[in-house]
Amino acid sequence: MAVILYSALVLGGLGALLSVVLLVAARRFAVYEDPLINAVEDALPGANCGGCGFAGCRAFAESIVRTRDADAFCPVGGRETAERIAGMLGMEVSGKEPPVAVVMCVGSLDGASFVGRYDGVMDCRAAAIIDGGERVCPYGCLGLGTCRAACQYDAISIIEGVARVDPEKCTGCGSCVKACPRGIIRMVPRGSRVYVACSSHDVGKLIRGYCRFGCIGCRLCVKTCEHNAVQFSDNLARVDPDKCTRCGQCIAVCKPKTIQGADLSPEALEASKKPPRKRKPAKPATREANP
């Protein structure tokens, strides 16, 4: 009996003593942290995936609270999470959609030239060091899947030798952009995906030799666009997403079908199928491009 009593007293007393010590330490050595950080962290999905660009949800939460950035976007949590967090900060989400990645190359096996037999490390960066695998085009997609491996959301697949991003799965985190050694993956606004799917700066004559989808530099798109949204420089056309109205006219005139478009309005889709409006023939270019 006495044993039980003594044991209880001793252990109980020890417990009590340690509790007091911990309490004092917790008060004495407490670090002040904005309680908002905890609240924001709780609102985040907690996957610690790094898609936001930070080292985990806690780090992201700290950054949001510190910078008061309501537009900071968590790819996993999505818009819902962004709105909740913005509410906690007493702000509003600006309504910007996260961007989506697109691969600026459509040189698939049935239309682009490939030579030789690649026998190196199966990684696009490794192929790029030895002048790029089997594709003849020195700018195009190497097709070995480094972007696919970098994507944590399974959004990229290699089809017919070219990488393609599935916009449904893409969260706009940007890992693939960093992974591509040729830099041909770009972010475009989610609702406005009209882009020139070619990255070659070679002249049209050369491109025609190795890819039937490449931008040949005819500049019809530049001339057709009524919104000044298509620029042409260094032998390559580019669509400016800020000016693009998704009318689809450039897609209609592009003979090699280099310009890809999605998110076109139904009217635009229809219009893009019709032949383009008649225009005055342009003057021939005065500056001779590289022969």
Binding site: A126, I129, G132
Partner: protein, 442 residues
Amino acid sequence: MNRTFKRGGIHPPEEKHYTREKPIENLPLPGKVCIPLNQNLGAPSQPVVEPKQAVKTGQVIADPAGFVSSPVHASVSGVVKSIGYRRTSVSPCSLCIEIESDGQDTWVDGVRLEADAIDFSRPETFLESIRAAGLVGMGGAAFPTHVKLSPPEEAPVDTLIVNGIECEPYLTADNRLMLEYPGKILQGVLAMKAVLGVGRAIIGIEDNKPQAIAAVHEAVGKTPGVEVVALKTCYPQGAEKQLIKAILDREVPPGKLPMHVGAVVQNVGTAFAVFEAVARKKPLVERVMTVSGPSIRDPKNLRVRIGTPLKDVIEFCGGAREDLGKLIMGGPMMGKALRSADVPVLKSTSGLIFLDRASSLSQPESECIRCGRCVRACPQGLVPGEMARMSEAGKFELLADALDCLECGSCQYDCPSNRKILHLLRLAKNEYRELQKEKKSA
């Protein structure tokens, strides 16, 4: 027992029997040449001619852009056909000057092709002759020679080492040069010695070339300050750092250059080109290369004009056999596998190797079995297998050591698992440099 660099190294089969006994032949003048302007290490040169302009052999067609750059000269006389971007073995997009030959091979004024000796009375003019001739390292690295021969004051140099090693299998061009022009090579060596102002020049030759050793030895004779040293045949004996270790027993620290241990290394081909530049005022418009391998019908040692299409070279050598598997520009250990013969000969093209299909494809790869052969083979004292595994796992930020890799390929040669160690190390080097760049700009 001949000297060697002691640690690491491998012994691939020499395969020099194809062309060892064949004297240097001149390739007939090509119909047109395509001369890239970014052949040397350093900034690409700037064109100073225009399409439709007539040029003579040896005329300057591009000026250097900065100190570490070289002028480029027309290698045939004729008319400039075009200036544009072409695919070369240096990059898929090199600015090149195409010249259509008129078949006359008219040289510019001032070149004395028959001159036989260097006038050593005015050594202070040598450096400018070397620079103006557009000389770059002929061993394959293509570093502008006049820069190498002008070490800064903080790095005093006491020895000139002449690299007659030619340790790569198949290559015999340097061997033939030493056999056929030992006297002129010696003059080139003496000219470089004068430019550097050093008291000692040592010509290193691998001991698998006894005739070349004898020929150079005889030419050197009693010339003061010049020695000939025979070195053990072991790859990569001809690598700069390893050669300095073997001859002078000095080790170049990681990240530093040979001049930091008091030495300058130049290839024998460069020495010959120096002779031509100084004695004959002849710019660098041609070079000797070895065309060899089991899949070329007629292996040869050829003197070729810079910019000659490889197709001309191949045709002259009887054409490639049907079983051609790999076409390599350079030597088989460090050279570049080409995707087509539509590229021109460069100042740095030491050879063209035709491998048959059977030797071209790698064996199936398996896991690293930690056997340690790569560690034993590495002349730089790295642990290549481990670095390759880290590269595969994407841990490039930990691979600063990869920058010290010579890319000699000894590690991959012996790997029983047929892992692509060197390719992974080159990837790591590239990615590490990218990371460093990002950090600097951040």
